[in-house]
């Protein structure tokens, strides 16, 4: 592991809103782009590409992704971004549209370079204090927890808060973090000098060369390749997104895959397996929120088909978010 380098591990924030007026149209999608950009500026990131459909808007950022639904915002940023600084501004913007926050969830893995993180991300404790100070008191169903694994370098941090207690949901979220990427595969995410391409066309090439476009062939993909290396993509399929971010450098290589599943359809386990196969990582963690035990098992079995062994399975219950299951896997070359 390098002494210092780019932090691939993301911080993820999900904010849910509701309106007293039943006819709220496009809700948060009404927010003008300048206002969105101002919030992104606070978090030290910018929009690099974007794509939308009738259900939601997706943005590829300089440091990950942003999804804007009528009543939900999901923002995921890596590096040393101060993601939590977006909480107050988003709540404020929503209020101008007569939307009020009803739930919040903040999740992240363990930073590779924790000492490089700025306030309020210098520790989970500090993040929790910051969140408690910046959300309205009526989100009273709160819990902060660090879910461990057998690997000291891999824990899953969760803070959730809501107006009402969580009840069974149709949708669940899967957050996959991969480290120690196979270097031959990681090299596909480096730009070739003087390739005559721009970030858009280079990104498209990486999407096709690595098979990322085959993870969900139904989806429309918005991709981008960074210079000299790095890659991001958002895929939109109906009302669901999936997103991949890659930091390919040896010594701190990292890739993430996140998607939304439904109890009614979609083979999420197969998508997770295909995504992990793109990178052949040494270590994988899979965190699911509100997924059934059965789905967690299916994901575990699918990942293990790649010759990666499940080393731990831990979980915790959150009154605002349901069950969070955290699994870690290591490849044979990384046996602990």
């Amino acid at each position: 592991m390098a002494v210092s380098g780019f932090e691939g591990f993301e911080k993820r924030l999900e904010l849910e809103f509701s309106c007293h007026d039943p006819v709220f149209g496009i809700g948060l999608r009404e927010v003008d782009f300048n206002s969105l950009e101002q919030v992104l500026h606070l978090v030290q990131c910018t929009v690099v590409s974007a794509l939308g459909n009738q259900h939601f808007d997706s943005y590829v950022l300089s440091e990950s992704s942003l999804f804007v639904y009528p009543t939900k915002i999901i923002i995921k940023t890596c590096g040393t971004t101060q993601l939590l600084k977006s909480v107050q501004p988003f709540i404020h913007l929503a209020r101008t549209l007569n939307l009020h926050i009803v739930a919040l969830r903040y999740t992240r893995g363990s930073f590779i370079f924790p000492q490089a993180q700025p306030h309020p991300h210098t520790s989970f404790h500090e993040e929790v204090v910051y969140l408690e100070d910046n959300i309205p008191a009526n989100l009273c169903y709160r819990k902060a927890s660090v879910i461990p694994s057998k690997l000291t370098s891999h824990s899953w941090h969760v803070f959730s808060a809501a107006l009402v207690e969580y009840s069974d949901d149709i949708l669940y979220t899967v957050e996959v973090c991969m480290t120690d990427l196979d270097q031959t595969l990681a090299r596909k995410f480096f730009r070739h000098p003087n390739d005559g391409k721009n970030g858009d066309s280079a990104g498209r090439e990486m999407t096709e060369a690595t098979g990322i476009n085959r993870i969900n062939p139904n989806a429309q993909i918005c991709d981008f390749a960074f210079d000299p290396c790095g890659y991001s993509m958002n895929a939109i399929d109906g009302d669901r997104y999936s997103t991949i971010h890659v930091t390919p450098e040896d010594g701190f290589s990292y890739a993430s895959f996140e998607c939304v599943g439904s109890v009614y359809d979609g083979d999420i386990a197969d998508m997770v397996k295909k995504a992990v196969k793109v990178f052949c990582p040494g270590t994988v963690s899979v965190a699911t929120t509100s997924a059934s035990n059965e789905m967690c098992m299916r994901i575990k079995n699918a990942v293990e088909q790649l010759g990666i062994k499940c080393r731990s399975w831990s979980m915790d219950e959150f009154p605002a978010a349901g069950t969070v299951v955290f699994q870690t896997f290591t490849s044979r070359r990384n046996r602990i």
Binding site: F33, S49, A50, L51, G52
Partner: protein, 123 residues
């Protein structure tokens, strides 16, 4: 000073994006494209789509830069059949037409790529 602007020039020759709101108007534009050597860039967008609003200024800049290219904007809610004909599934979608045939398309906000493809197909 100097030359009078021909009254037959279409507004797109002044570096503007022409918004097409009716099927009749679209059919006229499409027929024009078939009989001309000009590249036509169709911007399929929707009023409720954030990414479309994001790229709007850039599309206007491209229209000003490339006055020899026709820029057409179609709202997919106003002309859903045209959007369906062109298999538009996400927005913005840019379709580059020459002589009525699709030469290329871009799905999503990709300013550099749009600039590159316009340069590639304009002549």
């Amino acid at each position: 000073m100097g030359a009078q602007v021909s009254t037959q020039q279409r507004s797109s020759d002044h570096g503007e994006v022409l918004s097409v709101h009716s099927l009749d108007k679209w059919n006229t534009q499409f027929q024009n494209s078939k009989t001309s050597n000009k590249l036509m860039v169709i911007d399929f967008s929707a009023a409720w789509c954030g990414p479309c609003k994001f790229i709007e200024p850039a599309v206007h800049d491209l229209a000003v830069e490339f006055t020899d290219v026709d820029f057409i904007k179609i709202d997919i809610d106003e002309l859903p059949d045209v959007a369906k004909d062109f298999d538009v599934q996400a927005m913005p979608t840019f379709v580059l037409l020459k002589k009525g045939k699709e030469r290329d398309r871009i799905v999503g906000v990709k300013k550099d790529e749009l600039h590159r493809l316009i340069e590639k197909h304009r002549f």
